[in-house]
């Protein structure tokens, strides 16, 4: 998210750094950790199947003897990156469209786009994602695509509310009277002053989207095996819940920890008076 901040306001830059770190650290730990691990992601060892958590296998091993800790570490960057992409794209698209309909002088454009927004916002996300994945087949592309198609409308509504307030504000009117082009007014005056609410929502959305990705993978619609992904790992482990509960509990716990972490960051980010 740091790239979205134009670096012009001092306080938000600090908090955005904090938020960026909170996301970057688990990603780096996951990437580096899974490389350093003595076990490969897909190294099987049937003799060691269903080992309990121990020093050599902190999260135990699964039904074909793969080291669960290594796979969880590798899954963290995948889950977070997918969530980040599936939040960033609709955030950018939605914020710009919202800014446009917020300040456009044309009532026709405004009411048309708003009608589209209403219709898109009415789509139930999970169901729609299921439908898209059913059509394009399991995989991340369909999953991310479905999230983008449904979520940009929410961002557009939030930022259009903020931008509407700017329509009559004097610096925007002055820019118009100076003869600036609409794109320039949008980029310089409207978007920088109307994206903050949408950004706060994006931080909260990150958790929702991360959970959605995990749940769709749990349903078998997200990543394709053997790519490590937390939801898919839970799905694989659920068959052995009685025999080897660590196969579901530890990836599940990882999701919980990540969600709490992101929520903490999003609360701080949404609080304008807080400096992380």
């Amino acid at each position: 998210m740091a790239a979205l901040n134009n670096g012009r306001r001092r306080r938000p830059r600090v908090t955005t750094h904090g938020a960026f770190l909170a996301l970057a650290i688990p990603i780096i730990v996951g990437l580096v950790g899974s490389r350093l691990s003595p076990y490969g992601l897909n190294d099987t060892s049937v003799g060691e199947a269903f080992s309990k958590p121990s020093f050599s296998h902190p999260f135990g091993t699964d039904q074909i003897g793969r080291d669960v800790f290594t796979r969880v570490l590798a899954a963290i960057p995948i889950n977070l990156t997918v969530a980040l992409v599936a939040v960033t794209i609709p955030f950018v698209v939605g914020t710009v469209i919202g800014a446009i309909i917020g300040v456009t002088p044309s009532r026709w454009v405004r009411s048309t786009v708003e009608t589209v927004l209403e219709s898109v916002a009415a789509l139930p996300l999970t169901l729609f994602a299921l439908a898209v994945v059913a059509i394009v087949g399991p995989g991340l592309t369909g999953l991310i695509g479905a999230v983008i198609v449904t979520n940009w409308a929410r961002y557009a509504r939030i930022s259009s509310a903020a931008a509407t307030k700017l329509r009559t504000i004097e610096y925007v009117e002055a820019a118009r009277l100076l003869g600036y082009s609409w794109p320039r007014i949008l980029v310089r005056h409207v978007v920088p002053n109307s994206f903050r609410e949408a950004l706060a929502y994006a931080y909260n959305d990150l958790v929702v989207v991360m959970l959605l990705v995990a749940s769709l993978s749990f349903l078998g619609l997200g990543v394709v095996p053997p790519t490590p992904e937390l939801g898919a790992m839970i799905r694989d482990g659920r068959l052995f819940l009685g025999k080897a509960p660590w196969l579901t509990l530890l990836p599940g716990g990882t999701i919980v920890v990540l969600s709490v972490l992101i929520t903490r960051v999003s609360i701080k980010q949404s609080d304008p008076n807080r400096v992380v």
């Binding site: 134009n6 012009r8 306001r9 009559t168 504000i169 004097e170 610096y171 009117e173 002055a174 009277l177 100076l178 003869g179 600036y180 310089r188 005056h189 920088p192 002053n193």
Partner: protein, 332 residues
């Protein structure tokens, strides 16, 4: 400069209407205004009397409220504004017409530095390279007497105080040395000491740049101290106009008289009748027949409520009033 009396702006019997339901209602009807070169004119009236609309009409920015001029004339430097298109207005703004907004916070984009504001504004209207635009910005900042001009150029509006922000807004209005500065309640959001320094600055600038000033306000004390002419608006019409001292000390319209006597003065022990004006100003669209002040006027007679709003008539050579009974009520 002040002995040159060719007017910068002349507004005659102006009607401005805004769309309302299927038709339209007039928010100004019978507004008169003459701004002489080098003069400082106070434009006073209650909220809703049309002060801001009159300013917008002069500046050609009525479109924000979908309002339009539906009668009367505006002449800017002798040219009839009804023939102006967008690019004519564009050329006039900045070079002839300058505007200082009411809320200094809303005038500046919180995400841009002072330097960017001024450089953008300078380059938008003049063909300048970056360096001369920067020099222009620095000159403007120095002109409004901000200390440490170089530091301030790199600060954001949130780092400036209200008075400093208002000075920046004035600086950007002055980039091209306009002939007329319209200041719509420039000191409303500021406390009185800052108000005084801003007003003193505006007076110094009008003198040194040979600029005229239209000061919109409902503060008669400001008008009395800082202007030499005054125009009183009531319900969309000019009811009295003249030199500030004359109008305030010896009003020739019952509304001006009521405004003047409703001011509290040091030493007033208690409110006496005549210190307030009963009733409220009529809303646009609900203006009464005849003189619009009739329902609240202590001197009203039957003759006042027939016909339309009286036009401004000359009394006492340099004064003009819209009261038909002026001579009976106030003598000659």
């Amino acid at each position: 400069m002040s002995d040159v009396v060719d007017p910068v702006v002349v507004v005659r019997n102006l009607t401005v209407s805004v769309p309302h339901d299927s038709g339209s209602i007039a928010v100004l009807d019978g507004a008169e205004l003459t701004v002489n070169s080098g003069s400082r004119l106070g434009l006073v009236g209650e909220s809703g009397s049309g002060k801001s609309m009159l300013c917008r009409a002069i500046l050609g920015t009525l479109h924000r409220h979908d309002a339009r001029v539906s009668g009367g004339t505006i002449h800017i430097q002798g040219r009839d504004a009804s023939f102006f298109n967008d690019s004519d207005w564009h050329r006039l703004r900045g070079t002839v017409l300058g505007y200082v907004s009411q809320a200094s916070l809303a005038g500046l984009n919180p995400t841009l530095t002072v330097r960017r504001h001024l450089v953008h504004a300078a380059r938008a209207v003049m063909a300048l390279d970056t360096r001369s635009a920067e020099r222009c910005a620095l000159e403007a900042i120095e002109m409004v007497e901000l200390p440490r001009a170089n530091r301030i150029l790199d600060e954001y509006p949130s780092q400036l105080s209200g008075g400093m922000r208002q000075r920046v807004v004035i600086a950007s209005a002055l980039l091209q040395r306009p002939k007329l500065l319209v200041a719509d309640e420039p000191t409303t959001a500021l406390d009185v000491t800052v108000q005084k320094s801003i007003m003193d600055l505006l007076v110094r600038l009008t003198t040194s740049l040979g600029m005229s000033l239209v000061l919109v306000t409902h503060d008669l004390a400001l008008v009395e101290e800082y202007t030499n002419e005054v125009v009183v608006l009531y319900a969309g019409a000019t009811v009295e106009a003249g030199r500030t001292g004359d109008v305030l000390n010896d009003p020739r319209h019952p509304y001006t008289q009521a405004l003047q006597s409703s001011r509290l003065r040091l030493g007033d022990k208690k409110l006496t009748s005549g210190m307030w004006l009963p009733g409220a100003p009529p809303q646009p669209g609900e203006w009464p027949q005849g003189c619009r002040f009739t329902p609240r006027c202590p001197h009203a007679q039957d003759v006042c409520s027939s016909g339309g709003q009286p036009r401004l008539e000359a009394v006492l050579s340099v004064r003009r009033t819209a009261c038909i009974r002026s001579e009976e009520v106030f003598g000659t």
